[in-house]
Amino acid sequence: MKSIQFIVNGKECTVLCPPAKTLLDVLREDLGLTASKECCGKGECGSCSVLIDNEVVCSCLVLAGQAENQVITTCEGVGLSPNLDVIQESFIAEGATQCGYCTPGIIVSAKAFLDGIDHVPSVGEIKTALGGNLCRCTGYTKIIKAVQTAASQKISEPETIR
């Protein structure tokens, strides 16, 4: 057991856990942040995606000890009702979620992607950026549309960045 500190969604947290426990398990079990989901557990599906220093990673393959003192953002940190991020609003507006299992991971990936660009991305660009996130329900059309909608809104109202 080790005492490990992180900054999660802007808050400093300390947890006592084995250092080789995955960050995903720490978020879900120790910190009660259950938006990030475990699906494959081996980096293939992206449902566990979180941001470390604003870069998207699979938290199922990050060990807690490796995330020590890092700045972590989960889907809860992107936005929580009623203060949703424009990406989350767009997913609702476009109906880009069905069972919802993949959605938090996709929101987090889309957040990192859109924060890094200043144009409305093409379908090809979105497919590359979100290539590591699988969805078994929606068929992706609405997800891609939602990301484009969010991008156009961000560009037209840049001050919505909270």
Binding site: K21, L63, Q66, G131, G132
Partner: protein, 291 residues
């Protein structure tokens, strides 16, 4: 060993890391991005007593050029490689290969040192490093040696790295203006897939597509990466045209030595090695013409 029993040490400098590696009487293993290490830990294959975590050892994360050599730190991520203007200009084939690794998440997490350390026959940066004449600096507390990558990798997952050593630098030759490279990969899907076959090509061209030298390295068609020497010797014979490309592709079919496994049969791999090489050469020529 249970996952919950594995300890972790995070050295704050290279010298501290080398000291940790030199400690005897315990089982330890380096973990960088963890994209191979964590998966194998979960599968029960890699359960060291201690992970030596080098993820944030930033003194080993750099891309520098000096004269005609480029130095890459092992902690450099695939994303760093993809966005490096220096590598885009002078090691295009490596940038191509890094782009094909996994998807965004794996490119953010995975490092070039880890890709080499895993020594998978399907590792995507490896064929690119072979055609770029990569050498590796291996350092322990008291020794330092530089060896060609061909001598580093012995077989699937097997390398000459000693218990107390680590990769501290990757050295490649900068491409000259008349050199151009490309990496081609076939996987079950576009993103996030292990190569069924991959190939890196690097050509030194004169006027009118006269090829002075060509290097070709295949992955996933033998226990380690292989250079296609017969194909290479054909390249240095003359001008690159349809006929030469078709003939080289035929020779490649014979030159690779793939096995059948869960991902593909040997025959399919031969066919695809040949097709990827042909396609790669055509794409390379088009890229050259567009320059």
């Amino acid at each position: 060993m249970l996952v919950s029993e594995i300890d972790m040490i995070t050295p704050s400098s290279l010298s501290e890391c080398l000291m940790q590696l030199s400690k005897e009487g315990r089982i330890h293993r380096l973990i960088a991005g963890g994209t191979d290490a964590a998966v194998r830990m979960k599968e029960g294959k890699w359960r060291p007593e201690i992970w030596i975590n080098i993820k944030n050892l930033n003194e080993l994360r750099y891309i520098q050029e000096s004269e005609d050599c480029i130095y890459i730190g092992p902690l450099t991520t695939h994303k760093d490689i993809i966005y490096s203007p220096l590598l885009q200009r002078k090691a295009d084939v490596l940038v191509d290969a890094a782009r094909e690794v996994g998807a965004t998440q794996m490119q953010n997490m995975g490092t070039i040192g880890g890709n080499i350390g895993t020594a998978s026959p399907a590792g995507d940066t490896l064929p690119a490093l072979y055609v770029l004449g990569a050498r590796l600096e291996l350092t322990s507390l008291s020794t330092k040696r530089i060896i060609p990558i061909e001598e580093f990798i012995l077989g699937p997952g097997r390398t000459v790295l000693k218990e107390n050593e680590m990769i501290t630098k990757i050295l490649i030759k900068s491409q000259k203006p008349n050199e151009i490279g490309i990496f081609q990969k076939l996987g079950p899907r576009k993103a996030q897939s292990i190569s069924i076959v991959n190939v890196a090509i690097s050509l030194t061209l004169d006027q009118d597509l006269k090829c002075r030298e060509g290097k070709i390295a295949f992955g996933s068609v033998a226990p380690t990466i292989i250079r296609a020497r017969k194909c290479e010797s054909m390249l240095s014979l003359g001008t690159i045209n349809d006929e030469l490309i078709r003939n080289i592709a035929k020779i490649a079919w014979k030159e690779v030595m793939p096995i059948s496994d869960g991902r593909a049969t040997a025959t399919y791999r031969r066919d695809m090695a040949s097709a990827l090489l042909e396609r790669g050469l055509y794409r390379l020529i088009r890229r050259w013409d567009n320059q």
